[in-house]
């Protein structure tokens, strides 16, 4: 914890939510009597796993949902937002996890959307643009108000969201998992910035499931679990293991144990891989590496340095040039790339919702997405429903996926359980080589723990694993060797010794290996 954190001497309550209940059609109880008290000028973290009811609680406050029961007091008055406009007018701002920005409109248009009566003529946006420029200067949020949102990076879009809330005038700012989409550096910046805002008197509610963030940024933290308030504690009087325990409801294994690495043969090797990105610019440059059996090779790097293109090329989903790729002693030609999975490769893609799963399909249909045409799932062109169902139920059990029925639509599952479905499907094929990209992004701590254990178990069972992740902690926890990727190239190889974290950071920023060792 930082000593420089300002003391909050004014414990005046700005928001109190009492016994909030909210359920959804289909019998999902998102909030079952939640209590929350937020003080003027503090950064208050709302900590909980996915599905704990954090976002729903804040959506109730923001007027997006109507609570079934409970009362809200805001600035010492009973408060009941019928819609977001009410909330905005009462100076509550919310930055949603999925950005509420219209991509085809400019930054300025997004910021003024909904602010005027319909017949207001917006012929000249210059005064608005000037004001936004002034604000972005005052707050140090660098944003060009005339550019289209679709041309902005994710980090910039988030700045627009924050600016939008501040432009509308906010005394209470809610941020829903704001760092989930940011690089480590961007996250650092954001947290610093929020601290400055709070020092100026703004009250911030910060939704997260990351313990380090809670410890770093908050004054107090309220822990939710299964739609109920577990506790509210002063950040200075708690620690990550205690928070994790309250969040998950049991002790959490923070350290992974794995067997000693045993030397084996090379399972997968790549020589001089080159990939161009969608715009035709080189994204991966002369990339070479090999992965041995019983080994996890971690690719560390800031997001956007060619990791996505590397993974897509290896999965045969993107065109590439290479001198050689060898999988299990079989030399792979360009044409073979698309059938690498038949040769013993499995792939856990970066974006489960877009690539890993077919969201409108059921859990069991997703389980057999690759194998539905093979026996025993299909005979003479007919799907064998009984076999499929039994198989799916066995996977659900083996990977402890929380789902009522395997015929349920997978879109209804939480992010963690969706990811477990992908992991279960890929690992059940007993791959020789496993390509894993961002396996735990956006999933809760319980699921993260589980997925990481599965990856280690796979390694101990003999598989060669390439792990791509922007989460350094994950890279260090799982890898046997670390390659650092910067602008499409390997900057160097380091061992996952905790002392090396600083060097890895420098390599990620583009320093050469000679200069950092």
């Amino acid at each position: 914890m930082e000593d420089s954190m300002p003391k909050n001497n004014d414990p005046q309550t700005i928001l109190r939510m009492e016994e909030i209940h909210k359920s959804f059609p289909g019998g999902v109880f998102a909030n079952r009597g939640v209590n929350l008290e937020v003080r003027q000028g503090e950064i208050h973290c709302l900590l909980g796993e996915n599905g704990a009811g954090k976002t729903v609680l804040m959506s109730v406050l923001y007027g997006l949902y109507k609570p079934d029961a409970g009362s809200i007091y805001y600035k010492n008055e009973k408060f009941d937002a019928r819609n977001p406009k009410d909330a905005i007018q009462n100076r509550i701002g919310m930055v949603h996890q999925h950005f509420m920005l219209v991509e085809t409109l400019s930054v300025a248009e997004n910021i003024i959307l909904g602010q005027y009566k319909p017949w207001k003529v917006l012929n000249n946006l210059d005064p608005v643009i000037k004001k936004i420029q002034q604000m972005s200067k005052d707050y140090g949020l660098n944003v060009d108000p005339t550019s289209l949102v679709q041309d902005l990076s994710v980090g910039e879009q988030q700045r627009v969201e924050i600016l939008k809330a501040l432009y509308h005038g906010a005394d209470l700012l809610i941020l829903d998992e704001p760092t989930a989409v940011l690089t480590p550096q961007e996250s650092e910046h954001l947290l610093d910035f929020l601290r400055q805002l709070a020092d100026k008197g703004l009250t911030i509610v910060f939704i997260t499931h990351k313990l380090e963030e809670v410890m770093q940024i908050s004054d107090r933290v309220t822990i939710l679990r299964d739609g109920k308030t577990i506790a509210t504690v002063n950040t200075k009087e708690t620690n990550p293991p205690e928070l994790a325990k309250m969040m998950v409801g049991r002790d959490v294994l923070m350290d992974l144990s794995k067997k000693e690495k045993q030397p084996g043969k090379i399972i997968f090797s790549v020589k001089n891989l080159n990939v161009k990105d969608e715009r035709g610019l080189p994204a991966v440059k002369n990339f070479s590496f090999e992965v041995y059996e019983r080994e996890v090779v971690g690719i560390a790097g800031v997001s956007g340095n060619g990791q996505s293109e590397l993974a897509l090329a290896l999965a045969g989903l993107m065109n590439s040039e290479f001198d050689s790729i060898i999988l299990n002693e079989i030399s792979i030609t360009k044409r073979d790339l698309t059938r690498l999975n038949q040769l013993g490769m499995a792939h856990i893609p970066e974006d489960r919702q877009k690539m890993g799963l077919i969201l409108p399909f059921s859990v069991s249909e997703n389980f057999i997405a690759e194998t539905f045409n093979d026996r025993p799932f299909s005979k003479y062109g007919f799907l064998q429903f009984k076999t499929i169902k039994n198989y799916s139920q066995s996977l659900v059990k083996k990977f402890s996926i929380r789902v009522g029925d395997v015929d349920e639509e997978i879109a209804h599952l939480s992010g963690g359980n969706q990811q477990k479905v992908v992991v279960a499907r890929e690992l059940d094929r007993r791959p020789k080589f496993l390509l894993v990209n961002q396996p735990t992004r956006g999933i809760d701590i319980g699921a993260t723990e589980f997925v990481r254990q599965q990856i280690i178990a796979e390694r101990d069972g003999g598989a060669a694993i390439l792990l791509i992740s922007t989460d350094l902690e994950e890279i260090f926890a799982l890898s046997d060797r670390i390659l650092v990727m910067f602008e499409g190239q390997v900057m160097g190889e380091v061992s996952p010794n905790p002392d090396m974290i600083e060097q890895v950071g420098l390599l990620m920023a583009g320093k050469t290996i000679e200069s950092v060792l």
Partner: protein, 311 residues
């Protein structure tokens, strides 16, 4: 062909072009509003028929073209209200409701027309909106004939297109429309009433479609016949896409269609041409497709939530 006749031929085609484009343009500009807000109304054809029949019957009974036009617009707004209720409030599939509108429009206008006018002894023609010759300008050779001798509803498109552009791109109302078609939840979270915006946009769309239908009986032909719209509603849908969901785009696209339509009509009347008329009728559709696809280099996407109900 000699020089003078070929110029006259061209003049005739061009003079007809704008007129041919007008009904499609009204409907297409209306549909731009609807689709920008995220609602696709493939029932334009039916709404145009309803507009045409209401305008005709009121104009015929009352003797006032303007009253006919007004009632046509009201009928269009009412159709829009019903369409919006099913697609926005009840969240029925927009394509299905649109198809139903086409069939109902065809059926109901056909039924009413037959029961009211089929056995009429009185002549059924209206005295349509007459050409307004713009002083001085209309006497310019060639251009006078092509541009300055049209009826009021044709000239009306010159007001319609800039006005629609202004509303969509220079008012808070237009900004909200464009937002609810792209990302309704984003609009919702800053206080835009998505349902109301979509209702209003749909009704603007059907009102203008009805104007397009009314044009056919008040300012083109002088009476209603069954199926008088003959596919123009569907062309308007294509024109919206070719025009990249913009009023001026719709303007140029419908003119393009109009020119081929006028051309094939002329060719049909030429005595020594032996092309089956079915081919000629298909010409404007084919030609418009080829030209617009050929020149459509920039990829512009439809409003992201087009056809998707909110919540």
């Amino acid at each position: 062909m000699e020089l003078i006749p070929s110029i006259l031929f061209l003049q005739g085609i061009l003079a007809a072009t704008w007129r041919m484009a007008t009904p499609i343009l009204y409907a297409a500009v209306g549909e731009v509003f609807s689709e920008k807000a995220g609602v696709i109304n493939i029932g334009l054809e039916g709404v145009m028929l309803i507009g045409a029949f209401s305008a005709y019957s009121v104009a015929f009974e009352s003797g006032s073209l303007w009253l006919g036009l007004l009632v046509g617009i009201l009928a269009g707004i009412l159709s829009g209200l019903i369409f919006a209720f099913f697609t926005i409030t009840i969240k029925a599939n927009q394509i299905v409701v649109g198809a139903a509108f086409n069939m109902i429009g065809m059926g109901i206008t056909g039924f009413l027309y037959r029961s009211m006018y089929a056995v009429s002894a009185v002549p059924l023609g209206l005295k349509t909106f007459q050409s307004v010759e713009i002083p001085f300008l209309s006497s310019i050779p060639f251009f006078g004939e092509v541009l300055f001798k049209h009826n009021i509803m044709v000239y009306g498109t010159l007001l319609l297109v800039p006005l629609a552009t202004f509303v969509l791109y220079k008012t808070a109302f237009g900004l909200s429309i464009r937002a609810v078609g792209e990302h309704p939840k984003a609009a919702d979270t800053v206080g835009v009433n998505v349902v109301r915006m979509r209702y209003v946009s749909v009704m603007i769309g059907t009102a203008l479609a009805a104007v397009g239908g009314a044009f056919l009986v008040l300012a083109y032909a002088d009476q209603f016949v069954e199926g008088v719209v003959s596919g123009r509603g569907f062309i308007a849908l294509a024109v919206v896409v070719f025009g990249r969901w913009k009023p001026w785009g719709a303007f140029w696209s419908s003119l393009l269609f109009g020119i081929f339509y006028a051309l094939q009509l002329r060719i049909q009347t030429m005595p020594d041409v032996n092309i089956p008329y079915q081919f000629l009728q298909a010409l404007p559709y084919l030609a418009t497709l080829v030209v617009l696809v050929g020149f459509n280099k920039r990829r512009v996407q439809a409003p992201k939530t087009l056809g998707v109900p909110y919540k």
